[in-house]
Symmetry: C2
């Protein structure tokens, strides 16, 4: 299924900037960055729980926000893009 992950990390201090780097680094292992703090990942339920667990352990729940959106398996018609960074297929990227 396509899972959209977006996050806001409070980067007012060095610890926050470190959290941001680590969170992005984890997401890169599971999918494609489509915008600064937005990733699209093709995950099964177990992978999704695993990534959630990792990100939740990295974030500061008092300062940061993390959102998961589940777009299912037939997601092509559920995503529209305008502007730069358009041309990529979530599935295409992961299969290579």
């Amino acid at each position: 299924m396509l899972v959209l992950i977006s996050y806001d990390v409070n980067t007012q201090d060095a610890a926050g900037r470190r959290r941001l780097r680590l969170i992005a680094k984890q997401c890169v292992n599971y999918g494609q960055r489509v915008q600064n703090s937005v990733f699209e990942c093709i995950l099964d339920a177990a992978q999704c729980r695993q990534l959630q667990h990792k990100l939740c352990s990295l974030m500061d729940k008092e300062k940061d926000s993390l959102r998961f959106y589940y777009l299912g398996n037939r997601y092509e018609a559920k995503v529209e893009h305008f502007g730069i960074n358009a041309g990529y297929q979530p599935e295409g990227v992961l299969m290579v």
Copy 2:
């Protein structure tokens, strides 16, 4: 239906910072900001086209990125949140 809107605007110059303000201002008219550049909006198809048209006219397609994600009418189980800014209902906010 729930529509998730996320954008990345190039703010390296004053024009970009202005585009960012105007894009956010438009989105606020249609829904709820859930993260810095992420909005959740309850829209019908006509409202969605209208907002897309407005945002596309504001953005610079050579520099900015705008993504629309369609989560349908039964979206409660499709969104998971961790951390701050959790407690809000997209529908609840619009009805007030």
